[in-house]
Amino acid sequence: MSIRTPVVVIAFAVVASAAPAAAQQTVSEVLSFLLTNRSIPTGDFVQDARAAAATRDTISTFLLVELGTLPVTSSASAFTYRLDRNLGTVVRSSDSFGPFLAERSLTSGLLRGSLALTYQAASFDTVDGRSLTDGTLVATASRLRGVAQPFDVEALSLDLDTKTMTLVGNLGVADRFDIGVALPFVSLSLNGRRVDTYRGTALVQATGSASASGPGDLLIRGKYNVLRRTGSGLAVGGEARLPTGDAQNLLGTGEASIKPRVIASVERDRVALHGDFGYTMGGLADELDYGGAITVTGTPRLTLVGEIAGRRLSSAGRLTETTEPHPALVGVDTIRLTSIEGATERLVGLVGFKWNIAGTLLLSANVMRPLTSAGLNARWMSTIAFDYSFEP
């Protein structure tokens, strides 16, 4: 199989996935529209708009955080054979194809590279522990003071789906130094409905939908293998995100960021452990990333992966309800969904496999599940990838 075949396939997929952003209103505008109070007489529409904007921004941040959680690691090092000076023969660098989210310390080797195409789909159904889809997300409400249930409620339901196809390239510019690039193409669709329920009578107040697709933020990466002992070792790396994605359509953050990272790997015969720590500066918020992965070599061509990846965003905010007295009506409180400053802890678990179909072609698949309720969560998020490694 020549290198031309996967390149053509990937190029075709990229072109096919790229579509112009939806005209007229952006995803961000539609989301703001759906989050803004329409029918409840709160007496303070400025506060309503402010709460709506804060909520929108937080949900947008959560969404972009999820879009940035991409499996962009390279598996090329598993196809690399290095000379063992003391044995006098070449040895396979690793029997493991490595994890999905966490990095591994091994590098690909001089002029060895890989091209990968990953497809990830997600349908988000909760945000900060609140359901997005069943119409129970209260945006604005009025209630009598001392009574638990509000008498007038505007609730929101959102169907938020993303499909991301990422083109990943990795190249060893030196035996111990890899550079890589990842460019996601994101397709986002949003459908929402705002329903007002007054004393048991429901009435749709607003509906909105938007979709957008296009390139996301470009990711440039580098990794230097400081210490290497067969598959084990230590590496340092850096990652920069360039704001190439359309921020108004929630395809990109709109801000550049950089993340230094440290990677440690310990490999034994069949089992390998990988740890990855990084800190992102810039972008949506300062962010501490950490991840751990265990890989089990089923056969020389099959690797099973289990992973946990955590992110702590220092200022992504959290959704909350605020209660304020109605400025004009005595004994009536107004409840608004808004956001407050605060760190957000996200933790996801992943299981998957990497299978060497033939030659240096890998088929990878995994499913992710959130382990925390914070942020925007899909019940399951699945990824499938093809990874082709090459050498001169």
């Binding site: 598993a78 196809f79 054979y81 000379l83 063992d84 000076r85 003391n86 044995l87 006098g88 023969t89 070449v90 040895v91 396979r92 029997d95 020389p300 061509r301 060497n356 030659g359 240096t360 490694s389 050498e391």
Partner: protein
């Protein structure tokens, strides 16, 4: 024709025959019974008398009473040596037949070949073929290790790639240093070599040894001043494995070259156990794992510089390695390499202590 038993005459005669006695018979009547006398007791006759004998009882009927014939000495001395030679000749034929059958084993060209064919093959010019390599080694296999201090030259030849790759022939010639070469009996043994994959023919001609102007190896690698530094070109690979006897190499350089060739063979066959035979300190597990990840490997030394000292030797070989991995790109990978070996002699057997490849 028999007569009826009722005949009145004895012996079945119809009528008695009357023979008149001669005068001599009358004088010596006992002579008529001379045959019945024991030989020792027979009365001596000083002169024989010719007389006409009448038909008488067949002598055979009286043989049972005669003494057994005594074989004359001259007869024994002529007959028994002939028998011994016949036995020796027959034994030789049997031994020759057995030896021939033993020798008619796996050969490079097919399963059967005679010793003459084998010898003829050994005298052929050595053609080049990268898939085969000459192998000879100083250390003896375990099967002959118990022999009392022989300097052994072991020639290993495996079958070609087209043949079943599970057999090999090892011809062992042993000789004492202080005695003329004595051929062991039987002179040829067959052993199995684990996982041979490629043909490993045997170098017949002694590799030319030429002195180098200077050793490429650092002198510090040796504890003592090297005695000899020789550049031993790698034996040209040959397409066929030959199990013919190998001229004995007594020089350390030749023995080391043999060890290096066995190293090549082990690596080519992806046989970690065979590698340990010449490199006892190798991490067999790691080497075996490395070999398991390879589908094929070929190691070729273009030339080796060998420096021998009193306590050991170092060898620096240049060549290339070609391998095909089991997982990944199946295209052969060619790497130019240099191997540095340190060797030591243990119990008069050279073995590899360390290897450094780059």
């Amino acid at each position: 024709m028999d007569k009826p038993d009722a005949s009145p005459w004895p012996h079945g005669s119809e009528a008695p025959v009357v023979i008149a006695l001669t005068d001599d018979e009358r004088l010596h009547p006992m002579d008529a019974f001379a045959d019945e006398w024991p030989q020792a007791e027979r009365p001596q006759q000083e002169e024989s008398t010719v007389y006409e004998r009448v038909p008488a009882t067949p002598p055979a009927t009286r043989d049972v009473r005669t003494a057994p014939p005594v074989q004359p000495e001259i007869w024994r001395s002529q007959v028994w040596p002939v028998r011994r030679w016949a036995v020796v000749l027959a034994a030789s034929v049997v031994v020759y037949t057995a030896t021939t059958l033993v020798l008619m084993r796996i050969t490079p060209r097919g399963p059967i070949a005679t010793a003459n064919e084998r010898s003829a093959q050994s005298k052929q010019a050595v053609p080049l073929m990268p898939e085969a390599v000459a192998v000879s080694a100083m250390p003896r296999p375990a099967a002959v290790a118990a022999a009392p201090e022989p300097a052994a030259v072991v020639a290993i030849a495996t079958s070609t790639a087209e043949e079943p790759k599970t057999r090999a022939v090892v011809a062992i010639r042993e000789s004492r240093r202080d005695a003329p070469p004595v051929r062991s009996d039987p002179p040829v043994q067959r052993v199995s070599v684990s996982r041979p994959r490629t043909a490993e023919p045997l170098p017949i001609a002694e590799a030319p040894v030429a002195p180098l102007p200077a050793s490429p190896l650092p002198p510090a690698a040796l504890a003592a001043e090297p005695r000899r530094v020789v550049d031993v070109p790698a034996s040209p690979p040959r397409p066929e494995a030959i199990a013919a006897p190998v001229p004995r190499r007594s020089s350390p350089e030749a023995a080391i070259q043999t060890v290096l060739t066995r190293y090549q063979t082990a690596y080519r066959n992806l046989d970690a156990v065979a590698a340990r035979a010449v490199w006892p300190s190798v991490d067999t597990k790691a080497l075996g794992k490395a070999f398991d990840r390879l589908e094929r490997q070929d190691v070729t030394f273009d030339s080796c510089a060998i420096a021998v000292s009193d306590i050991g030797a170092v060898a620096s070989c240049e060549g290339f390695a070609r391998y095909v991995p089991r997982v990944g790109n199946k295209a052969p990978h060619d790497d130019r390499r240099q191997w540095d070996f340190t060797l030591s002699r243990v119990d008069d057997i050279w073995q590899i202590d360390t290897v450094s490849a780059r």
